[in-house]
Symmetry: D2
Subunit: 150 residues, 4 copies
C-alpha cells in the first residue's frame, strides 16, 4: 500500500493527537500505542501478551479490529482543522490469517479525504522473529465532526 | 431483529462454550461476559467503566467491534458439531450513535448457517436508566474450521 | 426486518422520485422498477430473464447489488428535504443463496437517518412459484448532498 | 495496489474463462468485457454510454459494483483447479467520486488465496481525456465451489 501525501490543515496535529492520547483509557487497557504519525498515515502497535488472546492462543479478533480502527481513525484525524473531531462511521475487517506472538502492527492510511468523509485502509501485520505476515486488512469510513467547545 | 430457530448439532454446545470461556483472556481483560446462549443466538454484555472509554468519554469503537464479534462468533459456534471451531472471516460494524454509561449489550444472531460459512448480524445496544438505544449494527461472515485434536 | 416510521421532510417525495425515474437509464436497461414507496422504505423489483444471468444460469451478483442499492438509495432519498440528493457512500452485499427464475425483490429500509448520513439495510428476495427465499442482505451508508440548482 | 504473483492450478485458466464469457448474459447487457487476465489479476472495462447512467448523468453505482464484482470474481476464478467454480460471498464497494464519460475500468486482485476463501480488492477507475481517477474501491470475499458435472 503506497502512502499518499497530504498537507495537514492543522500544523500542530501531532501535539493535538498527543493530548488526545492522555485520556485514551481503552488504548491504555490494551497496551496499544501509536508509533508513527504522518499526515494521513498513522501506525499503531501492541506487543502481544496473554491478555490479548482468545481461547485457542491466537490474538482476539477484537484486538485486530481495535488496532485497525485506531490507526485509521488517527490517520484521518491528522488531516482535520483545529477544533474538529473524527468518529468511525463504518469499520470493516477482513481476517486473512491468525496472529500469534511478537507484535501486532496496524498501518492506517487515508485513501480519500473529502469535506466530511474520510476513506481509510489499513494493513494489519504480525511481526515475529520469523518475519512479517499480513494477517488482516481494514477498511473504514471516518466522519469529521465539530467538537463541543470546552 | 427476529430470532430464527436452529437445531444445534452438538447438544452440549453450552458446556463447550463455557469451557472455551475459561481461557478467553481478552474477554476477561475487557470484563465482557455472555449473558444468554441459545442455538444461533448469543448475547454479550459489558458494564461500561472508564477503562472502556476513548478520549471524549464515549465507549471506544474497538469495544463495540469486539462485543459484536464475540456475540456473533459464539452464536455461530453454538451451531457446529463437536470438534469444530469458528473463526471470523469478515467483520463489519456500522456505528449509529455514541455509547456512554450503563451497559453495552450485543445480541448476535445467525441469519444463515451454511456448510462452512455462517452469516450473522448483531444489534449493539446501550442500556442506561434512560432506556435502550441502538448504537451500532454488526454484520459478520464466520467460517467453521476443524480444530486440531488435543 | 421491521419497518420504522419516519416523517418525510418533503411531502412531495413520491412525485420527486417519479420524476427522477424518468432519466434512470441504467434501471431501464435492467428492467428494474420501484413497486412500493413509503417514507424510509422502498421496494424494487425485476422479473428475472436470461439477460440477468451469469454463466451458470443464476442471477448475476451485480444485479443483486444494483437492486439493493436502488431500494436503499430511494428509501433514504424519500426522507430528505426538497433540493437535496442522495449518493451511496458504502454498499455491502452478503450473498446467502443463488437466485433463479421468478422475481428478484429488494426491500430497502432506513435504520438510522442522521443529518447527513443515512444507514440502510435491505432484504433481497427471490420469489418463485415455490415461495420466497432470502438470497442476500444489503447494508449501505447513504450520504445526502446539495443538488446543483437547475 | 501491487500485483501479487500466483501460480495458477489450472494452466488453461484463460480458455476456461473465455468459455464462461460466452454465456455471460448480464455482462453482455452491460457491454462489459475483460481486458486483461493474469493469474490472480483481472481487469474489466466498460465504455460509458447513456445506458449506464442514473438520473444525474453519472454512472450508476450498480454498474460500479458489478464491474468490481466481475474483476474480482474472475481474478479469484483464475486460480482454482479445473472443475471448480467461484461465487461471491461478500461484496463491499466504497464510492469515492462520481464517474462520468470515457471508460470505467476495474482492476481486481487476489490479496489472499486460501483453500476455500479468496480475499480480493479492486481499484475502479474512470479514464477520460483528462486522465485517470480512482472513483471506487472494491473488497470481496469469494468462495470456491464444486461445479456440478455436466
Amino acid at each position: 500500500m503506497s502512502k499518499q501525501l497530504f498537507i495537514p490543515k492543522n500544523k500542530d496535529f501531532r501535539l493535538v493527537i498527543d493530548s488526545k492520547l492522555e485520556r485514551q483509557f481503552f488504548m491504555n487497557l490494551l497496551k496499544m500505542r501509536l508509533t508513527e504519525i504522518e499526515p494521513g498515515y498513522v501506525t499503531a502497535q501492541v506487543d502481544i501478551e496473554q491478555i490479548h488472546e482468545q481461547q485457542n492462543g491466537f490474538v482476539h479478533g477484537g484486538l485486530t479490529a481495535t488496532i485497525a480502527d485506531v490507526a485509521m481513525g488517527f490517520a484521518a484525524f491528522s488531516l482535520v482543522e483545529a477544533g474538529k473531531g473524527m468518529v468511525t462511521s463504518k469499520l470493516d475487517i477482513a481476517y486473512l490469517k491468525p496472529a500469534k506472538n511478537g507484535k501486532l502492527i496496524a498501518k492506517g492510511s487515508v485513501i480519500k479525504a473529502g469535506n466530511l468523509l474520510y476513506y481509510c485502509e489499513a494493513d494489519i501485520l504480525n511481526v515475529t522473529s520469523d518475519g512479517e505476515t499480513l494477517v488482516a486488512r481494514g477498511y473504514a469510513t471516518m466522519c469529521s465532526i465539530d467538537l463541543p467547545k470546552e
